[in-house]
Subunit: 357 residues, 2 copies
Amino acid sequence: MKKLINRPEDVVKEELEGIALAFPDMVKVHFDPNFIYRADAPVRGKVAVISGGGSGHEPMHGGFVGVGMLDAACPGQVFTSPTPDQMLEAAKMVDGGAGVLYIVKNYTGDVMNFEMAADMARAEGLRVLNILIDDDVAVKDSLYTAGRRGVGTTVLAEKICGAAAERGYDLRRVADLCRRVNINGRSMGMALTPCTVPMAGKPTFELAEDEMEVGIGIHGEPGRERMKLKTADEITEMLAISIIEDPEYRRTVREFDEEKGEWVDVELVDPPFRRGDRVLAFVNSMGGTPDIELPIIYRKLHEICEKKGLIIVRRLIGRYITSLEMQGCSITLLRMDDEMIDLWDAPVKTPGLRWGI
Amino acid sequence: MKKLINRPEDVVKEELEGIALAFPDMVKVHFDPNFIYRADAPVRGKVAVISGGGSGHEPMHGGFVGVGMLDAACPGQVFTSPTPDQMLEAAKMVDGGAGVLYIVKNYTGDVMNFEMAADMARAEGLRVLNILIDDDVAVKDSLYTAGRRGVGTTVLAEKICGAAAERGYDLRRVADLCRRVNINGRSMGMALTPCTVPMAGKPTFELAEDEMEVGIGIHGEPGRERMKLKTADEITEMLAISIIEDPEYRRTVREFDEEKGEWVDVELVDPPFRRGDRVLAFVNSMGGTPDIELPIIYRKLHEICEKKGLIIVRRLIGRYITSLEMQGCSITLLRMDDEMIDLWDAPVKTPGLRWGI
């Protein structure tokens, strides 16, 4: 295993120590339990937006903490869910009195722990809502998931909801917006190479020199198909068409009903893309893919969107939700309305995403 | 070779096509000869800052074109110098009447071609000055260089000189500032893995599973020493101490003397770092290194700088000058004065570096 690390068991702790030293104007770090939070938290009267998940997907989520995006992020060990005490303590630290939104990627451990944390926080008098992100069209159910996995749309939801909270939206409105982003976003990824979790010391899976995995998850979970390596154009077409032609998607998720005071089942429906939809096109590197390759993917995606009548109104191209050093990419398309576009453009200042400030 | 590309010979062309589609608010792309230039160029009355070099180091240089940084960038094929006609046509496209500064990394081909382009541009009535970046302390002379290689300080010089040009500095003053950034910046890099040039189809060098190369160049040129893999702390210490304890460095470079109307030898002296110096600390990924590892490097660098009495006043952490998918990192320390700090903080809006706009 070749990595720029010291002891594998210290990777996350030392990463957090480095982040605290590197970005003191944007974030602070709390240890035991571990979370990264806005340097100016709590912001009185503002809804606090919190996310979290296993480490190894940097800059997500810790790199998205700062003005205009997340108030806090809870990192687990690499590819391991954070624990409820991290989420609870983060909420208590950043709550500005207007409540807390937990943005939760749909992985069994994350979902369970964020639900538990929300219950604990409510028991301590905080207002907390959880919204799920489940946008990966590649597979229904997978290794760590019931239903679709939460991937690229998470980054976009964190930016848009962070901007909304900054504008003074109340908790219910930020949560409704987050749900709307989720049902309008779809993603799919692929990998050329595996990655190695530091504590494991060996690749999470094997791929032959002429093979790739299409529909892969961000922890290297199996995707739709292992196949012979194809060209960038063919790969982009496979991902983009799977996203654009994905039919209506219906499922039931659990959300907390504040009036009833209990968790309830909510039916969500992702409407399929239609000609004339305005979209944000997000080309994401899995981590190890060099930057020279991403515009080649974008070029073909742009052509396909034009052909399918989708109007690209915003773009994000780079490494934002990664799988350590895995080579590969994912594509996310988010159907945007005027409000989302306006919030996307709002100023943001985080280690991983920054403009306007 | 596993890459997200179509035909190897089309990589740069298709990358440029993708960039043109992806960032139309920031840049335009000219083909045959190839260069990326500011969407609003030429900016009347402003000095134009241009750089360029082989592709494969993205986001450098093309990703640094935009308001507050470069007016144009000339990409060669991967790891291959661009040609004088690219540099000449770029200068003619973006010259706003106040002259052009070519920022040139010290590689034999780049230096020669940028000198030729400057002579050709002058013959066509443009005012052009060339400033060299030669900041890599790892080796004197190397595979493609007489003298030290140009590496990380290039990114910082492009940001600082771009801001100065935006503020209305005249050509002489931007060139003097660029020279000052160069003599105050020092870098060194290392690699855990090689990278593969698309047209070559195989790794540029081999490293055993337990080996690393310290002092490596951004094209995989041999460094100071091939050795057994060490910890992140040990690696950071090797790089940082080599930089901080590098003695005074004297050499002669060629610059164009406008009064004499000819190229002249100029003696440059890099003063060594001293306790109390204010520095920008730049931790750079070679491309394939995951983001989780960079704060671990920064953490140790911060500790070493404190011990050595260097005051870190600004930081840059991420992938900015890369070698395709090579895993590894480089460190750059730039001694800053008030003027450089102020220019560093100025707004910038490019695909690869952005804040304040």
